[in-house]
Symmetry: C2
Subunit: 195 residues, 2 copies
């Protein structure tokens, strides 16, 4: 096998796996949060709202979830209809709207987050801590590189979002929803993870 | 920082990056194949059709792209309207339909594939060959683990799809669209497929 072929083959395999793994994870999330009346997309939107600072405009959510404005608008429409989020018009510019999570949205988000975290832990469980750090390093390199060809819609905001909404901040915001400190969430010291 | 916090933090970071990186890559693809009148979703559907064996039913595409039947149906509807694929009713069971790529679809797919491959190479370029192999190994572990909670819709077909549509096979099928030295892309007779 030539070097060129091996290179192209590794590219294609890594590329396909990146898509497939994320898509499969997303499908798992859809199933898990579905128990609480949410789609994975709706859950991600609520998660974004939890991680963003008020006032949250539809465009802010678009930046966070990586959707175009139109797609976000339609999604927000459906979520308003479902009573999960509400639109408030009290910004200085009256044409602008800010979004808030309703009580119903909050009630769905809480258990959905616990379930989504459980799922996340389960899927990542075959990886050692070292593996995870390696995966983070590699994906971060790809993400950084992908910011170039993503074009002008992915502007400096995407960078900012990624840099500032870092994990510590996110965990702080989600603290009340996630049972990080429960006994079962502890890493199993000295014990080999089962595959 | 406690070990527990570090573990949960690595999980969350890896999880978010998996989603973000793939979503960003998808957005790049959308932009790149958009030059040829396709959305990333339509391109992925055509790619799936190139990689699947005839007869191709909408459910086969659903398995490949990881969408539910309804979503695939709507997508196929739009693609038929756009003249990219056609429905043929010549299977023994007349209620079943098989999909074919039209001449227009073919004409868009060819340059879109060249562009998508260029993009893929560009985004993966910061990684060494060793890095890529590591990324493949780690993502493969996650994908394998995610097959469990994905539930019954992701049945044995998903596994088969992933096992059999391996990279060598895919590269063979895409050979004419991608500029890899063709001799190398030939199936290696008597040689075991590498995973």
């Amino acid at each position: 096998m030539s070097e060129e072929f091996a290179g192209a083959s590794a590219d294609l395999k890594a590329w396909m796996l990146l898509h497939r793994t994320r898509d499969l994870a997303f499908r798992c999330e859809d199933r898990v949060v579905g128990e609480f009346g949410l789609t994975a997309e709706q859950y991600t939107t609520l998660l974004a709202m939890k991680c963003l600072d008020d006032p949250i405009r539809p465009t802010d959510i678009g930046q966070w979830v990586g959707h175009k404005v139109n797609t976000v608008s339609m999604m927000v429409d459906r979520m308003v209809k479902a009573g999960l989020v509400g639109r408030v018009r009290d910004l200085p510019d009256r044409r602008e709207v800010r979004l808030v999570i309703t009580k119903k949205g909050e009630q769905a988000f809480k258990p959905a987050t616990a379930a989504a975290c459980q799922l996340m832990k389960q899927i990542l469980s075959p990886l050692t801590h070292e593996d995870k750090l390696t995966l983070i390093r590699l994906l971060d390199m790809l993400r950084e590189k992908a910011l170039e060809p993503a074009g002008p819609e992915v502007d400096i905001r995407e960078r900012e979002t990624c840099e500032t909404r870092d994990t510590a901040d996110m965990m702080k915001r989600l603290r009340e929803y996630v049972s990080v400190s429960t006994a079962d969430a502890k890493p199993q010291r000295g014990q080999k993870r089962k595959r």
